[in-house]
Amino acid sequence: MIIRVRFHGRGGQGAKTASRILGTSCFIEGLNVQDSPVYGAERRGAPVTAFTRISDEQILERGYVFDPDLIVVMDPTLLDSPAARVTDGIRKKGVIFLNSPSVTHITKQNIASDFRLVNFDLTNAAMEMLGKPIISSASAAAAARLIGMVKESSLEQAIETELEEIGLSEETIEKNVLLGRKVFSSLEPVELMTEESSRELKIAPLELILEGNGLEDITAAGNSSVSRTGSWRIFKPVVDYEKCTACTVCYAYCPESALTLRQDGKPVIDYDNCKGCLICYRECPPKAITLEREVVAF
C-alpha cells in the first residue's frame, strides 16, 4: 500500500509545512513516510508544490509525484495556472480536495479521468481562527482526514511538532491545533484507489532536442509583462476614492509599479499585475485602502 499526496499552494500559504504535518502525523501512526517540497526562488505568491508519500512498506520512490491519489489544491486560482499543472496525472477515481466554498472552479477543467471532488473553505476557517490566510495546518488536517489513517491526536501532535520547528509562538500553535481539529472533524475519510497506473514513456531523441543550430538561447529582455501576477493575490486592495487625499504615498511604496496615478493624483490599481503584497494598504495615511478576499480566478 502506498498513498501519494500532492499539495499545490502559493508561496506563503504553507504548502511545504502542510506536507510535513501530514508526514509527521503518519509517522506517528507508525507508517513509512517521505515528504518534500519543490519551489523556485523564494517568492510569496508563486506556485509551490509539496508531496507526502505514505506506505506500510519501504518507499522506493523519490521526487515529483506524477500520479497522486490525492491532490490538495490550496488555492483554486492555481487551477487556471498553466505552470502549476495542478491536476496532472491524477489517478483514476483519485481525489481532488479544493480549498473553496464551492466546486465550480474545477468544472472548468477538462480532465479525462474520473476523479472525486471534495471541498472545504480552509481560508475562511483560517481567517476565523488565526486572522491570517495561512492554511498549512488546515490543509494537512484535510489530507490526514481524507486518507483515513491518522487519529486526531496524532494530527494534533504533528501540528505542534512542525510549528514548533518553525518557531511559532505557543499561542499561534494552539490556534492552529484548533483549526486542524475543526477541519478534521468537518470531513469524512474517502476510500483511495491506489491501483498502479501505467505511464507510457517516450524518450525525446537527441536530434530533436538539438534541432536547428543547437545554439538555443533565451534573449528576451524579461517576460514579466506576459505573466499576470494578479492571480497570486489572496486579498485585493481596494481604494476608497472618497477617503483618498491624493497624497501618493501608495504610489511611492508599490514595489511592483502596479499603481498609477489618475489626473487628480489618486491611484488606480492594475489588478492584472498587483500581487497583493498589501504594502499600499499598510502605508496609506488616511486608511483609504481596504481589503477584499480574492475568491475568483481570472
Partner: protein, 410 residues
C-alpha cells in the same frame, strides 16, 4: 604568405602577441604570477598606442571574468589571462560565461594549486575548469601559444560553436622561457581572424537577457545538451580552421599531434610543455631500436576521443602522463584516455598511469625513458602499478629540507 618576422620571445610575450594580433578590444586584468607579464606587456602597448584596446585592472579575478564575459556579449573581442588560484577564484564565472555563449579567450598560465604553495606548474588548475564549457587548447611551445590564441578565437566565435576558450601554457617552462616565434603580419592575422560579429549583442539602449533563470530541470538540461553539442562541433571547426591556418602560415595543428607514432609499440600520451622532453626520449629510444612513439593532446575540450582511439588502438602498451592528480583516484587524463579506448576490440594490452611533474617537479629525459620501460615491464599485468615519478636524489633532498624545517621549528 606575406612578411613574417621571427623573434625570441617568452610564452607570456607570445600570449600578449596573440591578443594583439587577434585585435582584442577589451582586456580586464588582475595580476598573478606567473601570468602578470602578459598583462604588463599589453598595458605597455596600450600606453604607447601600439594597440587600440581598453585595459582595465579589476579588484579580483572573479570580477575580471565577469567583466570579460559581459563585454564579450556586448560585442567586444575580449582577452584576459590568469593562473592557478586566480582561475579557481573565477571558476563559477567560467560556467556562467560558457552558459552565456560568450566567445572570449582566456589564457591560463598553469601553476600548481595551494596548499602547499608554489609558483611552478601542473595542470590541476586548468583541469578544474575542464567541465565548465570553455574549450581548452594546451600549448607545448611559445609558437603554439600565439597560434592557438588565434585559432581559439576562430573556433570560439564560429556561429556553430559560440563557446569561450582557454589556451593553457605552463608557467616557467613556457611563460618565462624564450624561444623563436614566427610572428604573422597584422594583415595575415586579420585575414585569418576576421572581426568578431556578436550574436544578439546588448547595449545600454538595447537590453538583452542572457543566461536566463530557468528553475526547471528539463529546460536546464535542454540548454546543457545544446552546449555539449556545440562543444563537440568545435572539433570539426578547429580542424577546418587549422587547415586554413596551415595554408596561410605553414604550421599544422591537429587536436592530437603524433610523434614517431606510426609503427610504435609503446606510446606515451602527454600534453603541454613536457611533451618536448617526451619527444626527445622517443628519439633516444628509437636510436636504441625501441619502437617508442608519442601522442600529444593539444585539444582537451572537446576531448578528441576518436583521434585518441585511432592513434592508440592496436598498440601493445600505452602510458598516460598526467601532470595533475585527482587525489583519491589518480590522473585525470588517464580515465579519459581509457574511456576513449574501452570499446575498441584492438585496444592496447596495457595502459599505464603515470603521475609526474606536480608543482613543476623537473622531469629528466631518463625519467621519460623509464616510463616506456615501465610500460613494457607491466605488459600482461592485470593491475599495473601506477608510476609516481620522483628521482632518489630528489627524495633525498626533499627529506633533508623537511628535516631542516623541523629542526628550525624545535
Amino acid at each position: 604568405m606575406t612578411s613574417t618576422r621571427s623573434m625570441l620571445m617568452t610564452g607570456n610575450l607570445a600570449a600578449a602577441w596573440g591578443a594583439r594580433l587577434g585585435r582584442a578590444d577589451y582586456i580586464p586584468a588582475y595580476p598573478i604570477t606567473p601570468q602578470t607579464e602578459i598583462i604588463e606587456t599589453i598595458a605597455k602597448w596600450v600606453r604607447t598606442g601600439e594597440i587600440d584596446a581598453k585595459l582595465v585592472q579589476m579588484e579580483s579575478e572573479h570580477s575580471m571574468l565577469t567583466a570579460a564575459g559581459a563585454a564579450s556579449l556586448a560585442g567586444a573581442r575580449v582577452f584576459t589571462a590568469t593562473s592557478s588560484q586566480g582561475l579557481l577564484y573565477a571558476l563559477e564565472m567560467l560556467y556562467n560565461i560558457a552558459g552565456w555563449r560568450a566567445p572570449m579567450v582566456l589564457v591560463n598560465v598553469a601553476r600548481a594549486l595551494a596548499a602547499p604553495i608554489t609558483l611552478e606548474p601542473d595542470h590541476n588548475d586548468i583541469l578544474a575548469a575542464r567541465d565548465s564549457g570553455f574549450l581548452q587548447f594546451h600549448a607545448e611551445t611559445c609558437q603554439e601559444v600565439l597560434d592557438l590564441i588565434l585559432l581559439a578565437y576562430r573556433v570560439a566565435e564560429d556561429s556553430s560553436v559560440l563557446l569561450p576558450a582557454i589556451v593553457n601554457l605552463d608557467g616557467f617552462y613556457l611563460s618565462f622561457t624564450r624561444e623563436k616565434v614566427d610572428l604573422p603580419s597584422e594583415e595575415d592575422a586579420a585575414a585569418f581572424l576576421p572581426d568578431y560579429k556578436p550574436v544578439n549583442p546588448f547595449s545600454a539602449s538595447n537590453p538583452v537577457s542572457k543566461g536566463a533563470t530557468v528553475l526547471n530541470g528539463a529546460l536546464y538540461s535542454y540548454f546543457k545538451y545544446h552546449m555539449h553539442a556545440s562543444s563537440l562541433r568545435a572539433r570539426d571547426v578547429f580542424e577546418k580552421a587549422s587547415a586554413e591556418f596551415e595554408r596561410m602560415f605553414g604550421r599544422s595543428y591537429s587536436p592530437v599531434e603524433t610523434f614517431m607514432a606510426d609503427d610504435a609499440e609503446i606510446v606515451l600520451v602527454i600534453s603541454n610543455s613536457f611533451s618536448t622532453i617526451g619527444k626527445q626520449a622517443v628519439k633516444r629510444l628509437r636510436n636504441r631500436g625501441i619502437q617508442a612513439g608519442l601522442i600529444k593532446l593539444r585539444m582537451l575540450r572537446p576531448f578528441p576521443s576518436s583521434l585518441v582511439a585511432r592513434y592508440l588502438s592496436g598498440r601493445r602498451g600505452v602510458a598516460v602522463f598526467d601532470q595533475n592528480i585527482s587525489l583519491g583516484f589518480g590522473g585525470i587524463i588517464y580515465s579519459e584516455v581509457l574511456t576513449s579506448l574501452y570499446h575498441r576490440r584492438n585496444r592496447p594490452q596495457l595502459i599505464l598511469p603515470v603521475i609526474g611533474g606536480l608543482g613543476g617537479k623537473q622531469i629528466t629525459i631518463e625519467e621519460m625513458e623509464r616510463i616506456f620501460e615501465a610500460t613494457k615491464n607491466e605488459l600482461g599485468s592485470e593491475s599495473p602499478e601506477p608510476l609516481f615519478l620522483m628521482r632518489s636524489e630528489e627524495l633525498e633532498r626533499t627529506m633533508n629540507l623537511v628535516k631542516t624545517a623541523k629542526e628550525v621549528h624545535s
